[in-house]
């Protein structure tokens, strides 16, 4: 299995790693069972994503797709961010090995989960945004696993 140079670059030098205090929205997706967890923090002012940070537990592709997804939405409007699909993330990384495509799906889902959280907190509706496919077991797993 080979990663593209861009994937390796974003894995070795991930952009936007970290947390945002009092974020406008946070989204966590994935679960420890499949070996990938992504958490994306958004700082939204007006309609614009001013800042974005992420934390990821996962393989090289998981880190790289998180990094690229955050790069793609930084400074964009919410409407523009809604257009960032897993395909866009993959293309920006010059592709992913077939077994790693799910990582890019996770990145898209993490982003949308953070936007959903923002929309919920502010009582607004974002066109085309669906609630995250959240399953409470995942959160249960996460907290339990850190006893």
């Amino acid at each position: 299995m080979m990663y593209s140079e861009k994937v390796m670059d974003h894995f070795m030098n991930p952009r936007n790693v970290g947390e945002i205090e009092n974020p406008s929205g946070v989204g966590t997706v994935g679960n420890p069972k499949c070996g990938d967890i992504m958490k994306i923090y958004l700082d939204i002012e007006g309609d614009v994503i001013k800042d974005v940070k992420f934390k990821t537990f996962g393989c090289g592709a998981a880190v790289a797709t998180s990094s690229m997804a955050t790069e793609l939405v930084k400074g964009k409007t919410i409407k523009e961010a809604m257009k960032i699909t897993n395909k866009a993330v993959m293309e920006a990384l010059d592709g992913l090995p077939p077994v790693k495509v799910h990582c890019s799906v996770l990145a898209e889902e993490a982003l949308q989960a953070a936007l959903w959280d923002y929309a919920q907190k502010n009582g607004i509706e974002i066109e085309g945004l669906n609630p995250p496919k959240e399953d409470h077991d995942h959160h249960h797993d996460i907290s339990e696993d850190n006893e």
Binding site: P32, K55, F57, C59, A62, D145, N146
Partner: protein, 394 residues
């Protein structure tokens, strides 16, 4: 940058003396051992010598040594061949949850053909309890297949005892000894085994060649039908250079075993202690003492194995992991799950397997670069973030 190979359980480099022994059989002695002219007779002789040598090193009779294309074929042949030969007697097979896929997937295939398979659990160190084997035996049990030593966590099984039980109950006993042969002393008689699989490339021999030891008197059906090679039990022109190389490699491995075992055990324990003392939230997987001299397997909490391997690779260190991402599936290692690790910890494992050429300097380099790599991945892990917040609350 230095390059350090710490993945000897995956494969090994060939010993120069092994290459040297093989070369003539690629060029001047190319004849087919089944032919009757002079250059072929030479090959027949080389084949016989290799068989004698291997038999002697394993405590077997030369007529009990059958050459195959490697560990996978040996395992497939042993299990399917016995299942086929004893199907009148029964259809139940006993194996363990931590076998290599060459055994597990073969058993699963047989299940699809109507056989019944019991997958015995292992304890936290990865050992099968011989009493569990005894309890699992039924009237229709025809085969017990338990590996000699595990490829991921290095745990050595109580083979003699399981073999004794199998012998008393009159059930055929196979062991996949691919990771054990050439690394720890093995005598097929003492081990009470009826069939034993081994592979050349795990002890500085060539790839694509292996052995199935079949004890005299054991009925087995062929896996590969064809010519009368291997006493009519395995068709196909013999891989003479490979067989000569395997015999030479095993001879060298056994000659140097005592010295290498001491050296590698010291280095192994040095690395184990070094990792434990330098990094928090780690766990050594496998048995503390009933363990292959070259195996180190750690779980690092909060991080994932493939990321760890990629960063080690950047530092010139080549190792392995039981994470899903390195297996090409979504599930992490079945071995780590079987010893009771939760999924996310099974994803965060690192396997280091030593060879006799590894040095203390290389171990020191690993111990120097590993802690910052683990910390770097933890710093970007949401699991570590949750853990730290919980610590702050307490």
């Amino acid at each position: 940058m230095q390059k350090i190979y710490f993945d000897h359980a995956a494969t090994t480099a060939m010993h120069p003396k092994v290459v040297e022994a093989m070369v003539p059989y690629f060029t001047e002695n190319f004849g087919n051992p089944s032919s009757i002219y002079e250059i072929a007779r030479k090959n027949k002789q080389a084949l016989d010598e290799a068989r004698d040598k291997i038999a002697k090193l394993l405590g077997a009779d030369p007529r009990e040594i059958y050459f195959t294309s490697g560990g996978t074929e040996s395992d497939n042949w042993a299990i399917k061949g016995i299942a086929n030969a004893y199907k009148e007697k029964g259809n139940h097979i006993i194996t363990s949850a931590i076998e290599h896929h060459a055994v597990l997937h073969t058993c699963e295939y047989l299940e699809s053909k109507g056989y019944e398979v019991t997958y015995l659990p292992v304890n936290e160190h990865g050992q099968v309890d011989p009493q569990d084997v005894l309890k699992a035996i039924k009237d229709n049990t025809i085969l017990i297949s338990i590996m000699y030593a595990n490829n991921e966590i290095g745990t050595i099984q109580p083979i003699e005892e399981i073999g004794r039980i199998a012998r008393e109950k009159g059930i055929v006993f196979h062991t996949d000894a691919v990771q054990a042969v050439g690394h720890i002393p093995i005598d097929v008689k003492k081990a009470n085994v009826d069939l034993l699989s081994l592979s050349g490339h795990k002890f500085h021999g060539p790839k694509g060649v292996g052995v199935l030891y079949i004890r005299k008197g054991i009925k087995i059906k062929p896996l590969l039908h064809g010519g009368a090679q291997e006493r009519g039990r395995r068709g196909g022109t013999e891989n003479v250079p490979g067989i000569v190389g395997l015999a030479k490699a095993l001879e060298i491995a056994v000659e140097n075993m005592e010295e290498n075992t001491q050296k590698m055990t010291e280095l192994r324990d040095y690395i184990i202690e070094g990792i434990k003392s330098r990094i928090d939230h780690v766990k050594l997987n496998g048995h503390p003492t009933d363990r292959l001299p070259n195996n180190i397997n750690f779980t690092f909490d909060f991080i994932e194995g493939e990321s760890l391997l990629l960063l080690l690779d950047m530092k010139g260190i080549y190792a392995s992991s039981g994470s899903a991402c390195t297996s090409g599936s979504l599930d992490p290692s079945h071995v780590l799950l079987a010893i009771g690790l939760p999924h996310e910890r099974a994803h965060g494992s690192l396997r280091i397997t030593l060879g006799d050429e590894n040095t203390k300097e290389e171990a020191d380099y690993l111990l120097e670069v590993l802690p910052p790599i683990v910390q770097r991945l933890r710093d970007m892990s949401p699991l570590y973030e949750i853990y730290k917040k919980e610590q702050n609350l307490n």
